[in-house]
Symmetry: C2
Subunit: 488 residues, 2 copies
């Protein structure tokens, strides 16, 4: 009938799922795709006329793509889980390959518990690994944790996907989401056709939470008929790098108690804290329950963690978990069924979660090397954050709070009207325009603030501080000066 094959297709851009179409995910969007094209060009050995010799992917928290080496203890154990036949040659492992007895012991224990990493585990994760996580949570928080309330997931993203699927009943269901936010939340809510209820973080207070702002956003949504069911908190913050003080956490829990909001605490950067200490929502909730008997018993909290970040940095392994507090057992059964449909989280990733929450202890053979590697990564990240922050402080029209945690800085940039006009001429927002020019000039890929949300009239970009060396930081400074001069 039609000569154009496409006219006979069933699916086209106008009839597929409109909610998938509506979703935005800038972290892997146009800039990221372009940066990969540059990388492919450069890998052929010639410069192709590009004004840089390498691409720096500062757009995504992907530590091992850059400099970060995996922690030896973790990977030694994983190698034995993948090839258990090696355990028949313990002498070779110990005498020729620097495997310590605690590596071998842990691998044997995990294999005894999971059987084979090639076998499906229970849908919510291997029971022994859930118990190990519960033990860790008890040590971390000083309050007991129950393995039956823990669900292994393929990274925290998959856990968020599960929780939002359960919580959102229809298009009236709304979730309070911080702005700026990691776009997983808005994208998942788009796909689910549920309502995102944005609340702005307070840049003037190191991107902390401001309860009056949350309240205003919540009331406005309620007035519009939204059934607001949960509040997302990302602590330490992504993209902001903020580490929340105790009073903010208390205030959020108290508000959730009053308003019957499920708390979704995204705590994947819990070990990436440079200022103060990390306080988990679970610990604070249990403390409030202890201080105020009966008052907080109905608060529902889901807290998420992952092997992707911290000093582990194993995002390619897609390991993570969430812990539920205060959830109705009948609701938990539905969560179990939901995760069953995808069978189980990757079992080797589950084992890596176990290693993360139960690393070598002082006195154990692998401890010294583990500690050395862990500290080196921590200090390296802190130094790079500080160096990058210093560079931002010297850049005209750039403002950035002291690095507190996570893997990101999220500076404000002030651009001229001339730059805004040039951006508009290309059909871009000014921050997109700036980031595109930065990529084209330096090979450094960052994400414009509009990819995370920002207050009207403000501009930002998010950069990781994972890349080694200082050359790339220098190239940002140089680009920025030239950009400012050009559009002055």
């Amino acid at each position: 009938m039609a000569s154009d094959a496409s006219s006979g297709r069933r699916l086209n851009i106008d009839n597929i799922n409109p909610h998938v179409k509506a979703a935005k995910y800038a972290v892997r969007g146009e800039l990221a795709v372009k940066s990969e094209e540059y990388r492919a060009l450069l890998s052929s050995g010639t410069s192709h006329g590009l004004p840089f010799s390498q691409v720096i992917s500062a757009n995504i928290g992907n530590p091992q793509q850059l400099d970060q080496q995996p922690i030896t203890f973790f990977r030694q154990v994983l190698s034995l889980l993948e090839n258990p036949l090696l355990l028949k040659k313990e002498d070779v492992l110990i005498n020729h390959l620097d495997y310590k007895p605690d590596v071998i012991e842990r691998a044997k224990w995990l294999l005894e518990k999971v059987g084979s990493v090639g076998a499906y585990s229970a849908s919510n994760g291997a029971p022994a690994i859930r118990q190990s996580i519960a033990d860790f949570l008890e040590r971390r928080d000083g309050f007991p944790a129950n393995q039956a309330d823990i669900y292994l997931s393929a990274g925290a993203s998959s856990g968020v996907n599960t929780l939002l699927h359960i919580i959102c009943a229809n298009e009236k269901s709304g979730i309070l989401v911080p702005i700026p936010q990691y776009p997983l939340y808005t994208a998942s809510l788009s796909v689910l056709n549920a309502a995102c209820v944005p609340y702005h973080l307070d840049e003037s207070k190191n991107w902390g939470t401001d309860l009056s702002v949350i309240k205003t956003a919540h009331e406005k949504a309620k007035a519009e008929g939204v059934d607001v069911r949960a509040i997302v908190i990302i602590n330490p913050g992504n993209p902001t790098g903020a580490s929340l003080p105790e009073e903010d956490i208390r205030a959020v829990i108290d508000y959730a108690r009053q308003e019957r909001l499920v708390i979704l605490a995204d705590e994947v950067y819990q070990t990436n804290v440079f200022v103060g200490e990390f306080i988990s929502f679970k610990r604070m909730l249990r403390q409030l329950q202890k201080e105020n008997p009966g008052q907080y018993d109905h608060v529902e909290l889901a807290s998420l963690h992952s092997v992707s970040k911290g000093m582990v940095g194993e995002c390619g392994h897609r390991g993570g978990y969430f812990e539920l507090v205060g959830f109705d057992p009948a609701v938990q059964q539905e969560i179990y069924k939901f995760v069953s449909i995808m069978l189980c989280a990757p079992v080797i990733g589950q084992c890596l979660v176990e290693l993360m929450v139960n690393p070598p202890k002082p006195g154990q053979p692998s401890y010294d090397l583990y500690k050395k590697e862990y500290d080196a990564i921590f200090n390296g990240l802190k130094e790079r954050a500080t160096a990058l922050h210093k560079a931002f402080e010297q850049m005209e029209g750039v403002e950035c709070g002291t690095p507190q945690g996570s893997m990101y800085l999220f500076p404000t940039i002030t651009l001229s009207d001339k730059a805004a006009a040039a951006a508009a001429a290309e059909g871009r927002t000014p921050d997109e325009f700036y980031c595109m020019k930065l990529l084209e000039s330096t090979g450094v890929c960052v994400v414009p603030g509009s990819g995370f949300g920002q207050k009207d009239g403000t501009l930002h970009f998010r950069t990781t501080f994972l890349a080694p060396g200082t050359e790339w930081v220098g190239s940002i400074v140089k680009f920025h000066n030239e950009f400012m001069d050009k559009y002055r």
Copy 2:
């Protein structure tokens, strides 16, 4: 206010997502949970009065939970990917640990291509692995494949989830699903609130497809206002074990061409074929395109594969992929964005996909062992299928076609009115009742036919034939005879 904490909770069974609640997933349902409870009881060392000494999980295709050993070549490579430091000791690997040079070479190549298995890959999978899959598809089908049309996924389930998310636009969107079917399809459609359009397979023709039945189901749905967009084919079949003949495949493609239906070909059992040979939908579509220039160009096909089944059996690794043929590039961009939200498939699972599609070749050092292990698994499965089939043939009221492929048998059982009445008294369907009694008496866990769908008035159960030994088969026969006598 209320003394019962639950009354203050936000979430309860009546206000969570009703579409998640509506989903059914029997493969990991009540029977599976009960069997795990038995297993936990028995693991304590005493029988707890149970009339069996072990639990046989014949409810799920989980080869390595039972007898199946992983293939050495695969696991040796994976161990090096997890601990690349081992590559600094090649002499130890070769001289003391039986690693062959091609194992080392492959690990080096994969590491060069993916960087680290701890790093995120591209959202659609590492480019080199996609190319390797494309090469495999070209060898398998005799027609070219393009790496840009291949998407790595966390097992085939995750691929199905992606595709259904794109295809289903609203509650009117419908998908033709075979009955009996693997419940992933109905469960995912429930969650998406899209319409499942069931079509029955023909038990009298070894569970083949009957085009007139498909047509009737399709027409009926259209008349009811369903916008039927795709047809699912599982070949070789799950739960049926059928291996489709060429004429069935041709007929389905031709119908999809006429009716503009996207074909979702679930081909995860493509190497588990005992009768005839596996014919891929891709090969048949390309052949039809060649034979009838211009006529089939608009047909959209997505075919799925996985490391979970076949002789690989690595379901815990959650590796898989799908290939798209004939899709609109703008639609593919939306698929790319959708998979980006969950970042990427597990990278070690991606590497395992590469090993599966590109195993050692004749003449390479690891080939002989690979071939020996592969053949032993294949023959073992075939023998067990035959032995189980023989047992079924001797059981009163049980009918089962000759094993053709996949990992399952799906016999018909005919039960007495007395048995049906006893089931009803427990609030169960007769097949659920039968399977529950089987589990309670023997420790053998199978799945009632109602978990997959079956024609009204018929009863079945699905069992894998993965478990080693013959004792469990004997215990099924003994149970069955007693059951038939009791309810005669």
